[in-house]
Amino acid sequence: MSAAAAPSPTSVRPTLSELFRAFAVVSVSGFGGALPWARRKIVDQKHWMTAEEFNEAFALSQFLPGPNVVNFSVVFGSRFGGAPGAAVALAGLMGPPLVIVTILAVLYARFGDLEVLSRILAGITAAAVGLLIAVVAKMAAPLFRKRWDWAPLIAIAAFIGVAIMQWPLPLVFLVLAPVSVALAWVTR
């Protein structure tokens, strides 16, 4: 991926139908995370954003609650086309996967009890969990590498609250997020 070779400032503005098509293509290519595909399409191929603008918009999407790529489609679409742009980008992102996954849901309802299928899915789940652990490790590395700090404590508290105590996520969030933001405020 040649994100470093981002050219001059963006002057190209996508039309609504271009927005729809770009996000539809990104969504069906994006196995296991659509981010690299979104970057390739938007920054490298279409030059709708510079690499910095893309990072900035994506940072915002990650910080917002809910699915990151979905947020990104709304943030990106609204920047270029207001509310219609956001709607069109979202429709492009969600439309094709929804059709595919609905077909899979129907098939699973029909064949989910088959021994073969459940064995295959068990293997895929075991592998997918491993990838999730890798994501956690990559996220944790910079956080835990720093000197003694509050951030790992917050992460561990969130983990214990949700995974071990099995408290509702909104409750854990409403307690920890303000504490964490306050700590980020005073330690800066």
Binding site: L60, G66, L90, Y108, A126, A127, A128, G130, I133, A184
Partner: protein, 175 residues
């Protein structure tokens, strides 16, 4: 609780969508808690299967809510669950996107951004824990998980290959 599953589907996922900082991966434990334990819509294995299907499907992983919704109430359930999970957060994203750039250097914005990172890390770690408990029923599954974690951490291989190998190992009957 309401007797219509559509109402519960909508209520739970709409609420969850506003607190799922870190996306689909952060929301898994809460989905599991609601779908398997509180509402008993599906078994542990069906939940793990839905996770696997969402992983191998193209598109955002949050699409697992479509599968849960379909399982609970057919096509209307799929539509309601997906709308509930994406709707509120999209409205928030739309509103915040308009004002966010103005506060690029604001101290509170930097504090919010920095403060939410460890919370979402803890939530995603909890997801991995909850899913590992559902998925790793024997030593072979646990080994697959451990090896995949190392590969995922050390390389940038396309996850599709890893899923393919995982699926084949599963098919071979070890798990």
């Amino acid at each position: 609780m309401n007797d219509s599953p559509l109402v519960s589907l909508f209520g739970y996922f709409a609420l969850l969508s506003l607190f799922a900082v870190g996306g689909a991966n952060a929301a898994i434990p809460e989905m599991h808690r609601i779908a398997v334990e509180v509402m008993q819509w599906m078994t542990d294995r069906q939940f793990a299967d839905s996770f696997a299907i969402a992983q191998v499907s193209p598109g955002p992983n949050i699409i697992i809510v479509t599968l849960i919704g379909y399982h609970v109430a057919g096509l209307p359930g799929a539509a309601v669950a997906t709308t509930a999970m994406c709707g509120p957060t999209c409205i928030v994203a739309f509103l915040v996107a308009r004002i966010w750039d103005r506060f690029k250097e604001a101290r509170w914005r930097i504090a919010i951004q920095a403060g939410l990172v460890p919370v979402s890390l803890g939530l995603i770690a909890a997801s991995a824990f909850v899913l590992a408990r559902s998925a790793d029923h024997n030593i072979y599954a646990a080994i697959i998980t451990a090896v995949t974690a190392l590969i995922g951490f050390a390389t940038r291989i396309n996850p599709l290959w890893i899923f393919l190998v995982g699926g084949l190992l599963g098919l071979s009957g070890w798990l």
